[in-house]
Symmetry: C2
Subunit: 325 residues, 2 copies
């Protein structure tokens, strides 16, 4: 038997497959079909549907907005791949690489419009509220991506600035996914705010864990080696925390490694990880993840529905941090 989460995943994939985007010109729509067919666990629309159900809403009411969020998310991935010049994602060629720059830009733009098209099929009574959360969030995600770009060339990044960047780039969309589900079920303003904050904290934990696994995880399913962030000179929380605690001598070492691209990536990863270990960056990050996760649970706890109704969402939250989703 399928779990409630699997039932919703199937619904989401069904709705995505039914999108009328197989039209002409093929050069515009084939990349969109490709982008939406990359699998993934559909975490964001799942959050919407689970929140909606938790507050007693009907899945059909929340579905247009849930699908809109998934299309929007995949649109941001598409444009991010261009910006990051990423040739591969999850072991498959990116659209930027498989087609070209212009296709990636234009098919992405079209996906953004299609996302709003789906959203506008929501109950007209709900539409203004949904539009506001959706649009505010879309703008914040762009802001987060811009900060990420800005930080690449900066040596002045503070930990609060980094946390704000990942909040905007990643966490607010998870938060909005939950809030949109709550709005679809006519939840109270207090509950909408609680579930939003639950999602934002969960998103922070999720992203920090992503950073952690990039440094200390096992080689993943698609053969993506760990240390990618180090090779790319990404100043993650692990880096910033280590830097903060490091001796003058070790700071200089970190500066040196991050000031260059080297032919010996393995050596670079090894040396930087050595410093991460020396300053307990892993434990520091795990501590922060736990803090955010606890805050998320606290906010979920404050939501005015029974624990039984919260169970599926709680399960997804747990799985998210176990990386099963």
């Amino acid at each position: 038997m399928m779990t409630p989460i699997e039932v919703f995943q199937q619904k989401i994939n069904g709705a995505l497959a039914e999108l009328p985007v197989l039209g002409e010109p093929a050069g515009l729509y084939q990349p969109i079909v490709y982008a939406l067919d990359q699998g993934g666990k559909r975490v964001r629309p799942l959050l919407t549907l689970l929140a909606n159900e938790m507050f007693g809403g009907a899945a059909d009411t929340a579905m247009p907005a849930a699908i809109a969020i998934e299309i929007f998310h995949n649109f941001t991935l598409l444009h991010d791949d261009v910006i990051d010049q990423a040739p591969l994602k999850r072991g498959k060629e990116t659209i930027y690489k498989k087609w070209n720059l212009n296709t990636a830009i234009l098919s992405g733009d079209t996906m953004f419009a299609i996302a709003y098209g789906r959203l506008s099929q929501s109950d007209p009574r709900l539409l203004p509220g949904l539009m506001k959360v959706f649009t505010d969030t879309a703008i914040e995600v762009c802001e987060g991506q811009q900060y990420d770009i800005d930080f690449e060339d900066s040596n002045q990044i503070t930990i609060p600035a980094y946390l704000n960047m990942i909040r905007l780039k990643t966490a607010v969309l998870l938060a909005a996914s939950l809030k949109i589900g709550a709005l679809s079920a006519d939840a109270s303003p207090e509950d909408c705010e609680n579930i939003y904050q639950c999602g934002e904290n969960l998103g922070m934990a999720f992203q920090l864990q992503d950073d952690l696994l990039d440094a200390f995880g096992e080689t993943d399913l698609f053969g993506k080696k760990t240390g990618g962030d180090i090779v790319a000179n990404k100043k993650t929380y692990l880096y910033l925390k280590t830097y903060e605690k490091a001796s003058v001598e070790d700071k200089k070492q970190l500066d040196n490694w991050y000031a260059q691209t080297t032919n010996d990536d393995d050596k670079k990863i090894e040396e930087v990880l050595k410093l991460y270990r020396k300053y307990a960056a892993k434990e520091e990050t795990e501590g922060l993840i736990t803090q955010y996760y606890d805050l998320a649970l606290q906010r979920l706890g404050a939501v005015a529905v029974s624990d039984e109704r919260k169970a599926p969402l709680l399960e997804l939250a747990k799985n998210l941090l176990k990386r099963e989703y």
Copy 2:
């Protein structure tokens, strides 16, 4: 004293200047301010406000949607400049050139979201209808741009395919601008359709005239020389019509000129224009412009309001084709 059109232009520029887009990160928002401050005649929001007024609507009701359309239009210009690799627009550096590719992509995406943000400030009662026209049109504009890209590498473009491309890329947005004004004033479905068709035909005439001026116009205000489409091997209506009528020998000549980039642009322009003249491409295009313009007037004529109320919109339509707007 200002004309009604000038009054609306001032309102539009005022509303654009008041947009709260001067925030952080500056790397994201400065290009947006720059993009929206490039002047221009604000034709599309003017069409919205004039249609709205023609049907007896209050300007304030239509203003959020009018501003949304102008922001959307400038977003498409921004991404088009990347796709066309255009260094200059109206004598000013494009964002792609002044900043960089990533900024152009990301600031453009943000403008698209801001456009929807403005649109969502419309009367909630009107929002679902406005969203539908706006979104359908946005998707069509992307389709038109994709066809334009596809046509660059094709030698099989038919005249109907070309006309469909400019319909999608240019005409439907003028049509939607008028329809959105009509919807804002609660015009009847018949009048909404008539004004939409009026705008579509006007848009066709407008784009064909643009093509005509590129080939036969005077050097413009910003020193843009005529013949740019010929140098870029753009297969406009002038080219396609000439090709259709040309002798086998002249077809071969056209093929040759358009198969190459030459160091002697002036020679290329001269030779292609010679063929345009030989086959009366100018007169053919003027004839088609007149046909579309007449269709536009016919649709405006069918709108169920007094001629007096139609006068300002008629004036704008005339000016559009005189290139004063």
